[in-house]
């Protein structure tokens, strides 16, 4: 079988996070705290994709994710897929899902919120998760809502 050329080199064991919007790659790395881990990481942006035209991809060696961890990236990359690799073989492929609640990774938009004034971890309820454009986060503490386009990651 002819192997197609890989723009981002294959990994033996680990996770491939595929179908990311190109502009979300660095955010995804931050959200999953891959920037301060020891795992080798390869990434590409502005790669050609049949489905999306333009995509980003991340490959992390020897790192696997729980569904709860993965779903945090759904806010910036709602169509991402997680592909688990063992011995260069795909053993599992899952789509990310927008979670019902989100903690810690997002900042509250309200400067007067307790989470922006004291050492309190943020918590949000995800509203309108079925309507991608209408998606909002409601702060568990100050009850203000943050629209998708205003979401700021910590």
């Amino acid at each position: 079988m002819e192997r197609k050329e890989l723009k981002v080199s294959a990994i033996k064991n680990g996770t491939v996070i595929d179908h990311l919007p190109s502009d979300s790659v660095f955010q995804v790395i931050r959200i999953l705290s891959l920037d301060n881990s020891d795992h080798p990481l390869y990434s590409g942006i502005n790669l050609e994709s049949k489905k999306y035209g333009n995509k980003g991809i991340i490959k992390v060696e020897n790192r696997f994710f729980e569904a709860e961890e993965v779903n945090k990236i759904a806010l910036v990359a709602p169509h991402a897929s997680m592909i688990e690799i063992k011995d260069f073989e795909v053993i599992r492929k899952t789509q990310v899902e927008i979670p019902d609640s989100i903690a810690k990774v997002v900042k509250c938009i309200n400067p007067k919120c307790i989470t922006n004034n004291q050492d309190v971890p943020t918590r949000f309820v995800v509203m309108n998760k079925d309507m991608e454009d209408e998606l909002k986060l409601r702060c568990h503490y100050c009850e203000k809502t943050t629209a998708r386009e205003n979401i700021v990651f910590k």
Binding site: C108, K112, C113, I114, T115, Q118, V120, Y141, C142, E143
Partner: protein
């Protein structure tokens, strides 16, 4: 509801609301009872709010409870840089329940998560002030005989008025029709209107107060603050358009009542005070009964 904090009016369902309102009715008949004689209540006012504090303290005193606390942050350990969490964890050791007023949004919810005793939110910044909402509901039910199917006018600063937001949201449980009277700069936020729309209820927006009065069962007045206007000229132009006068209520329904969370500045002219349709001072008195009901229900006595 025993031992459960009250942070947001949305924490209570209809049944729980009625439980508090019914109990408040009992306290209206018999306001002085020694039910809290074995209890110490902490009253933590991180910002001054004389009216709310006095109402709580009066309610606690009428029930023979003891009060510890402070009346503004300058006289507390906050000034030394203590975190809210540490203050609350410490005061939890000294009291059976904490009444808290704080300038930061969401502080009350956070306090309820770190406290080992229940918290009653007496206002957290611009967010919630559920005991005000409870006394508003009590006053409406008391004067109208029901909370169902009412026509309510909300007048003045509907954009920043925290009491308006909570009361509108609470009244969406009771099939109300909303008449919203405000300058265009101070209209009800769409986040609050969404609650009305979700329940498929009707609301109407006006800039003129006079035409609304004959249509409604009660009118909830609020103060328009000068600092809300970017353009001072605009404030000068509208400030007198939202003043309720005695002649305006002549054409109102027999059951009509004027409500106001107080303090009033000039938005209700003083000649209204002597009308049997003025209810705002009685409304403030109802705050005592509602707070007595809340304290005893949460403490389980």
């Amino acid at each position: 509801m025993k031992h459960k904090s009250l942070i947001s009016i949305n924490d209570y369902n209809k049944e729980e609301l009625f439980q508090i309102l019914d109990r408040a009715e009992d306290f209206e008949k018999n306001p002085t009872q020694p039910l809290l004689k074995d209890y110490v209540i902490a009253s933590l006012f991180f910002e001054p709010s004389t009216r709310t504090r006095l109402s709580f303290e009066s309610a606690i005193n009428r029930l023979s409870g003891k009060i510890v606390g402070f009346t503004d942050a300058a006289s507390s350990s906050v000034k030394k840089g203590e975190s809210l969490k540490d203050t609350i964890m410490t005061v939890s050791n000294y009291s059976d329940l904490i009444v808290m007023r704080h300038p930061i949004d969401g502080s009350a919810r956070w306090a309820s998560e770190v406290a080992s005793v229940p918290i009653i939110n007496a206002g957290d910044g611009a967010n919630q002030h559920p005991t005000q909402c409870l006394l508003d509901l009590y006053s409406i039910r008391k004067t109208q005989g029901t909370l169902d199917n009412l026509n309510l006018a909300f007048v003045g600063d509907l954009k920043y008025g925290r009491t308006v937001h909570s009361l509108v949201i609470a009244m969406t449980m009771f099939n109300a029709t909303f008449h919203l009277v405000s300058p265009t700069e101070l209209k009800l936020p769409s986040a609050v209107k969404r609650y009305i729309k979700e329940k498929k209820l009707n609301y109407y927006q006006y800039t003129d107060l006079k035409e609304v009065i004959p249509k409604v069962d009660a009118c909830y007045m609020t103060r328009i603050q000068r600092e809300r206007f970017a353009d001072p000229m605009e404030y000068e132009r509208v400030k007198n358009s939202y003043v309720l006068t005695r002649d305006m209520i002549e054409e109102s329904k027999d059951n009509f009542k004027v409500l106001h969370p107080l303090p009033r500045v000039n938005e209700i002219s003083e000649d209204v005070d002597t009308s049997p349709k003025a209810y705002y001072f009685q409304q403030a008195l109802n705050g005592i009964y509602v707070r007595e009901a809340l304290l005893t229900t949460i403490l389980g006595v």
